[in-house]
Structure formats: C-alpha cells, structure tokens
C-alpha cells in the first residue's frame, strides 16, 4: 500500500461559498425567535444548505461569526445531523427508507434499483452533480412503504419497477402546494 503524504504547499485552497448579504439578513430575521443566538444555528444551516447546496467550511466560519459562537461549535452541530452535507451534494437527494416496515415490503430491492439506475452507491453523487443517494431510517410513511423521497417530495408504495420512471421524471421533486411567505423567516410582526 502506498503511503499518501499530505502536501499542504501544493494543495488547492478549499473553495466554498461565502454567505451573501441577503442570506445573512434572512438568518438575522430569526434572531428574535429564540433567546440565544446559538439557537438560530440549525435554522441557519437549513438556509445555507438551501442556498449553497451544502454547508462548506467558509459558511461555517461565517455563520459562527454571525451567531457569536466558535467555528468548532458550528462544526460540532453540523457533524451530528445526517441532513447536513459538508461537501457538495447532488441537486436532488434521493432518500430511500430502510426501516422495518419498508424493509419487509422490499425496500432493499428499491434501493438496489436506485443504485443501478443512478450508477452510484449510498451517500454518493452522480458525476453530473444531479443526484445523490442516501438511505434513511423510517420516514413516518410506513403505511405507504416502500417510501422514497426526492428532496421534499415523498413517493409512496414504490416498486423496484417504478424507480427508473421516478428518476427520469424532471418533476420528481416538485411539491405543488401552498407555502408560507414566512418560509424565509422574515420577522413576524403580530399586533
């Protein structure tokens, strides 16, 4: 086995996006919801991931500054939650439930089919950056197992034979439903 040495001199600098001013403003919009700034961290991480596609190092440092905590506090939290990606993920994340109800209804075959159709394994991303694949524990839709989520959209009672069609469908992550204008976390003003 070859020994791989770290070469800090020639290593390319980590490039990850900064928080834009509107994004920072959005995060500040959550300050008055909680008695501490740190509590804004998880909402902020959601907003960052929505905006950047993942939570990069620079974003972690900058959100730390914004919330007056240390970057290691931020990393401590980020690393705990499976929802946050610290490197770029696909535009769409396919989440296959693997818990007991779905498993007994054939979730493993659905997952295998996802791997085949996408050509990637668990927690990998297609080379064109379109899709990432993840397995998840119970998605609370066991009555409709096996379940597959594509970003926000839940696909229910999925047969292995359906997988190709679901993945080829451009609208497979579209949730057409009323949404709150407060989704961005603008300040709530109540009389």
């Amino acid at each position: 086995m070859a020994w791989k040495a770290i070469d800090r001199v020639n290593a390319p600098a980590e490039e990850s996006p900064s928080l834009s001013e509107p994004l920072k403003e959005k995060i500040r919009g959550f300050f008055d919801r909680y008695p501490t700034k740190r509590a804004v961290l998880i909402p902020a991480l959601h907003m960052i991931q929505d905006d950047h596609g993942y939570v990069g190092w620079k974003a972690m440092e900058e959100v730390a500054e914004l919330l007056e905590i240390t970057a290691s506090d931020v990393f401590d939290t980020v690393s705990f939650y499976s929802h946050f990606w610290t490197h770029p993920k696909g535009e769409k994340v396919v989440m296959a439930c693997r818990s007991v109800s779905c498993d007994l209804l054939g979730a493993d075959r659905v997952l295998d089919e996802c791997k085949k159709v996408l050509g990637i394994g668990d927690h990998e991303t297609t080379p064109d950056g379109k899709y990432s694949l993840m397995t998840e524990e119970c998605l609370a839709a066991c009555d409709h197992g096996p379940c597959l989520m594509v970003n926000e959209k839940m696909h229910k009672c999925v047969n292995p034979a359906d997988v190709r069609k679901i993945i080829k469908d451009d609208a497979n992550d579209k949730l057409d439903m009323p949404r709150s204008s407060l989704y961005d976390g603008a300040n709530r003003t109540s009389a």
């Binding site: 909680y34 705990f80 007991v100 109800s101 007994l104 609370a140 926000e152 839940m154 949730l175």
Partner: protein, 435 residues
C-alpha cells in the same frame, strides 16, 4: 370493542380540512376560547382529572407534568414534539397533514395552562409537506389572532414558531430535543434536573407530543368525565393506532384503548386482515422499541397496562408492524439492531458499544455466519444497558434492549435452528471472506 365516535380524526377527508375556515366551521377554537375564560389552573385541573396520558411513548399524565413547573417562574417554554421517528409510527404525520388547526388549538391551550411565553413546534426535517401545511396554518392562526399578543382579548401572549430538525431519532427524546432546539447536537441530558425545572435555555419547559396536545380542545370542551368514559380505566380517551406490514389496510386509525392486537389486525375498522392469505408470525405493537409479540400473544390489549404482561416495555406509540409467516425473523432482528446502532448518540458506553455489538452479531446471524455464542450474547447484552439498570442517560437504550431481547427470547429456537443448520457452510464462507 365498543362503538366509537371519531374525535381526533373527525376532519380527515373533509374538503379543505387544513384551512382555518373549515376548522372553525366545525366548532374549532371554541375549546381555546373556553380555556381562556378560565384560569390556567382550571385548565390544568381538568386535564389532570381526565388523566390524559402522554401519547409520545412514555404515557406520563400531561396535567401532572405541567404541575411540576415552579410557581414563581417568569419564563416558560412549550416544546411540541413532532420528531416522530420511531418505526413504524406515522400518527403525528396524519394529524398535522389533515388537521393542523386542531394541533395549533391544542398548543394554545397547553401554552395557556402552563403560561408559556413561546411554543416551539419541533418537526423532523423529513416532514417537508407537513411543514408547509403547518406553517401556512400557523400564519392563518396568527392572522386570526389565535397567536401573538393579547390573544382574543384575554391579555395572554403566546408566540409559536416551527423549528425544523435535521435528521436524528434521538432528538425525539425530550432533552435531546431541547439541546437540538438550542442549536447543539441532540445529546440527551442527564436528569434531574427535569425540563419542568430547567429545560430549554435553562428555563422551565414542558415537552408534549402532538397527539397529546390534539386531545386538549376536546377535553376542554367536553370535560374530564366524557374523556374518562372512553376506554378502560387508566387508558382513557381517544387514541390513534398505526398499523403497517402484511395487512390489507395499513393506515392510521382511531379508537378507544379497548381492543386487542388481534382485532387491530383483523377488524374491518382497522387492518382488515392479513394480506394474500398470509399468517401472522410476529407483531411489534407499540413501535419497535417496545418489543415483539408472537402469534400466540395477539390477545394483548392495546392499552397502557397490558403490554407489560407480555414482557414489553409499554404501549409506546401504539404503532404495530405485522410480520408475516413467510418472513425470516433474522431480517427483523438485523433491521432493528441496525436502527438502534445507527441512532445511538454515543454518550453512554453501554448504549454505544452494546447497540453496535448487537448489530454486528445480528448481521452475522442473518448472513448465515452466526454462532451459538452470538445468540447467547444477544440475549445477555440487553440486560446490561438502559436507564432501568441505571446505566444510561436516555431511554433509547431501553428501547434497543426490549426490542432485541424479546426477539431473541421469543424466537430463540428459530434463530438457533438457523445457526445449527448453517454452521459448516458458515465457517467456510467466513474463511473465504477472511482470506
């Protein structure tokens, strides 16, 4: 099984059941109005008398929990537990999807009773559709003056925010939830102090499940005696049951806690019988953490008291997964063991190491590489973990222990049979893998 008037799910299937107008038309928010005309202590009193036991898994009486709050507090937080991650549970999802205002009314009543200043609705990240539904409903409720300052002219103020989680089962444990709310990893806290004394942001805090709170408008409107009149003593009130697996009608159903697991599976009101002529092999009737029943134990009542008689941890989330007779029990064992080893937060040695050992062994057994010692150990480790022997911080490890111990105890001969029959081959395969 008694005749039953649907309460919690009565708006399901109504057109626009998610809209405020629909809810109000059906008498919605009258419970909150009534509560606001009484003192907070009156509300606590009626909930105590109704003996509303928590629907989140532990069954602790809500009114009693509220009365632990210190009298001289200035700030109180209400955390609504919508983390719903226990396989195979989805009743909170149905409540939020179909009737968001019923939950919001419940939050308002619980908030008023506990004199909460802020309510946080903690929803698991994977609830996307449900999040949009709840947020739109919450906006409507604010608009109509059910949240914010001086609610309905009562002088009571309550802000309500939705806080989205980020994918961790243990954040459903109440102190894990609080840590997560504070922006930290969802590591459960050592108790005491209990949340009622020192919870979110160091202040007195109440954590209640979605279904628990959805009961409140009805209790306030119809009284404690009405509630006590539903179901057996100690297990009163409307209750949601989930059923999934090899049945004809998997879904979320409502009833009193007065029927058996067999009825849950067979009755046309619920599961509608087994699919494709399959037979029952096993049922996990309360979520996987509570443990398993064999086909001979289906007389267990779906109430708070009976599960213990069958060696289970409790009623849990009253969500049953039905395993059919064509299923290899090793598949269930491995799946359940994987779940807990994946979800253990790692703070307590017995839970962290115990769950991953158990997963490794179940994995071996499932792949035909098991040894008799594995089965022995799988029965033994669970006795050495959990809060019950005082060895862990939270109940996740008790769930792991009950799930795995009951599977190994109740299906021991099947597991041993596999190990015995596959042993020679197993050694050969193991050697092939090792080389």
């Amino acid at each position: 099984m008694s005749d039953y008037e649907t309460v919690l799910l009565k708006n399901v299937g109504k057109p626009n059941s998610q809209r405020l107008a629909t809810y109000v038309e059906g008498g919605g928010y009258s419970g909150a109005k009534r509560a606001l005309e009484h003192t907070p202590d009156d509300v606590i009193d009626v909930v105590k008398r109704a003996n509303l036991r928590g629907r989140g898994g532990a069954g602790f009486p809500a009114g009693v929990k509220w009365s632990f709050l210190p009298k001289d507090r200035e700030v109180t937080y209400l955390c609504v537990n919508a983390d719903e991650s226990e396989p195979p549970t989805f009743s909170n999802r149905v409540l939020m999807e179909e009737d968001p205002h019923q939950l919001l009314e419940g939050i308002l009543i619980a908030g008023y009773a506990t004199q909460a200043t802020v309510a946080y609705l903690y929803m698991r990240a994977e609830f996307a559709e449900q999040y949009h539904i709840m947020q739109v409903a919450l906006d409507e409720a604010y608009e109509a003056g059910y949240f914010g300052k001086n609610i309905l002219g009562s002088g009571y103020n309550l802000e309500c925010y939705i806080h989205r989680g980020a994918g961790a089962y243990v954040c459903g444990e109440e102190t894990g939830l609080i840590e997560s709310l504070e922006g930290k990893r969802g590591w459960p806290r050592i108790k005491p102090p209990f949340p009622a004394i020192q919870g979110a942001f160091g202040k007195p805090t109440v954590v209640n499940n979605v279904e628990t709170l959805a009961n409140l408008p009805h209790i306030v409107n119809r009284g404690a005696d009405w509630f006590l009149g539903i179901g057996p003593e100690g297990s009163s009130g409307p209750k949601l049951f989930c059923i999934s697996g090899a049945v004809n009608k998997p879904g979320c159903y409502e009833g009193a806690m007065d029927f058996s697991v067999r009825e849950l599976i067979e009755s046309d009101r619920f599961g509608g019988g087994m699919r494709d002529g399959l037979k029952v092999k096993a049922v996990m009737p309360g979520g996987i953490s509570m443990g398993i029943l064999t086909a001979d134990e289906l007389d267990m009542k779906m109430d708070f008291a009976d599960p213990a008689k069958y060696g289970l941890l409790g009623l849990g989330t009253a969500s049953a997964i039905v395993v059919d007779d064509q299923t290899d029990i090793r598949k269930v064992l491995r799946n359940v063991a994987r779940f807990f080893s994946h979800e253990s937060c790692g703070q307590c040695t017995q839970c962290r190491e115990g769950t991953s050992w158990m997963y490794k062994m179940s994995n071996r057994v499932e792949r035909g590489l098991g040894r008799m010692e594995d089965i022995e150990l799988l029965g033994e480790i669970p006795a050495k973990m959990g809060m019950m022997p005082g060895l862990s911080i939270c109940g996740l490890s008790d769930g792991a222990a009950f799930a795995i111990r009951t599977i190994v105890e109740k299906f021991r001969s099947e597991l041993e049979g596999y190990v015995r029959s596959e042993n020679d081959d197993a050694v050969r395969i193991a050697l092939e893998i090792a080389n």
